[in-house]
């Protein structure tokens, strides 16, 4: 309806799922049979490129930022130390303590900054899409988190981890008929699924909303004209507000992903479940 209503040269461009699957332009060969079609194994499209850029930005900031560290920090070093210190003291050491925390610090730091950098590309001009809005990164990081907490549990309580997780102590044995399936689903199925979907859907929907607002603004200003321009002012204001909101979502989701991974590890390390 909207598309047909536009009799100007420029029709309304609605947000579409195809934006998350742009054309692969590099390494189209080799391909592999995947879910009923041939897909390039190492294909690079716009979103992969954005992720690589985000990763390069992280490497640049942190490798250069920690190159010549001084006891009394300079301004730049303070910012880098603040970021790393937030993850170290605010998330990892706070929940795991310093002894266990030191082992898992690299993984959780990587998760936090990788998610943050790839979230923030959603509002950076010309990139305009979050690297985490396509399922690959959330899924890979959820699997990392999954492996990390199971590894932590099995290493700490060899042989007893799965028993502790599935058969919580202090429960009368007939209740295990109900409790054990619930524990299994919530711990070993829902955790990775919710980690993946929470991150991906937040950024996915955030992108769709921003596209919707700015595409509508464009349409109202340049295609519809007249009184519709007033609608355009409204949609532009919403677009602006949601851009600011997306910054919050980017930081918040990175924090949530990192802290949930840490909490899962903490629960696995705990003596009793």
């Amino acid at each position: 309806m909207l598309a047909s209503a536009a009799n100007e040269p420029e029709p309304f461009h609605p947000p579409s799922i195809a934006e998350f699957f742009p054309q692969v332009f590099l390494f189209m060969e080799p391909t592999v049979a995947w879910l009923g079609s041939e897909e390039p194994i190492f294909g690079i499209n716009r979103i992969m490129l954005i992720r690589i850029l985000a990763a390069l930005a992280i490497i640049l900031i942190f490798v250069l930022g920690t190159r010549k560290m001084k006891l009394v920090p300079t301004r730049g070093q303070s910012i880098v130390e603040l970021g790393l210190g937030f993850v170290r003291d605010g998330i990892v050491y706070d929940l795991l303590g310093e002894k266990d925390g030191r082992r898992f610090l690299p993984i959780i730091t990587t998760i936090f900054f990788m998610v943050l950098a790839m979230n923030i590309t959603g509002i950076i001009p010309f990139l305009n899409i979050a690297g985490t809005s396509v399922i690959g990164v959330p899924l890979v990081l959820a699997i990392v988190s999954y492996i990390a907490f199971i590894y932590a549990g099995v290493k700490k309580h060899p042989g007893a981890f799965f028993k502790n997780s599935l058969f919580p102590s202090g429960v009368p044995w007939p209740l295990y008929i109900i409790v054990t399936p619930i524990e299994f689903v919530s711990t070993f199925v829902l955790r990775p699924v919710t980690l993946t979907l929470r991150l991906m859907m937040n950024l996915f929907v955030g992108h769709l909303l921003l596209v919707l607002f700015f595409a509508a603004t464009h349409f109202f200003f340049f295609s519809a004209g007249g009184l519709f321009t007033l609608f355009g002012v409204g949609t532009l204001a919403f677009g602006f507000a949601f851009t600011v909101f997306e910054i919050l979502v980017a930081v918040l989701q990175a924090y949530v992903f990192a802290i949930l991974t840490t909490v899962y590890i903490q629960l696995a390390l705990a003596e009793e479940h």
Binding site: V63, T66, L84
Partner: protein, 183 residues
């Protein structure tokens, strides 16, 4: 109607993609990026930060230790000054006591010597007085004897022979002496 945009979009893209199904390159590149970032944080960034934190902690601890050492040094110096002061005071007291004792000894010495001297002088004086008394006595004895004889000769009017006169004088003097002793 709601799905129209998505269908339209499908024509632009290759095929209808389910956003929940990852493409192989999506997984591969996500994994590669994760591994690279993990290695960067694990092997480069975090060890550097840890080294810095350790260094900073050491610097702070070193500062505290240095301050403690300085304090201990100051306390030791104070202690040694106090000891020296106490020693000096004891030394002074000892010297004073010594001086007092010396003074007492010297005074006693002097007093003893003075007493001795005084005694000696007194004894000498006594001796001299005695000697002079003896001399006076013997000269007096002779003079009084001859005087008395002269007088008695004049009274009697006749000379007495020497032997007789000598016996008279002797007797007189003995009487005189006895009287002197009785008195």
């Amino acid at each position: 109607m709601l799905t129209t945009p998505l269908f339209l979009a499908e024509e632009a893209g290759e095929t209808a993609q389910n956003p929940l199904l990852p493409a192989p390159y999506d997984i591969i590149w996500s994994s590669v990026i994760f591994v690279v970032l993990l290695l960067v944080f694990w092997k480069v960034v975090l060890p550097r930060v840890q080294a810095l934190l350790d260094e900073r902690a050491a610097a702070i601890e070193g500062g505290i230790k240095k301050a403690e050492e300085a304090q201990a040094e100051a306390a030791a110096a104070l202690e040694s000054y106090n000891t020296q002061l106490a020693e000096a005071r004891a030394e002074a007291a000892r010297i004073k006591d010594q001086a007092r004792a010396d003074a007492a000894r010297i005074e006693a010495d002097l007093k003893a010597r003075a007493n001795e001297e005084a005694e000696r002088i007194t004894a000498q004086a006594h001796q001299r007085i005695e000697a002079e008394r003896q001399a006076a006595f013997s000269s007096l004895k002779t003079e009084v004897g001859s005087l008395a004889l002269d007088l008695s000769e004049k009274v009697v009017g006749e000379s007495m022979d020497d032997a007789r006169s000598a016996a008279i004088v002797e007797r007189f003097l003995a009487d005189l002496e006895r009287e002197g002793a009785n008195r």
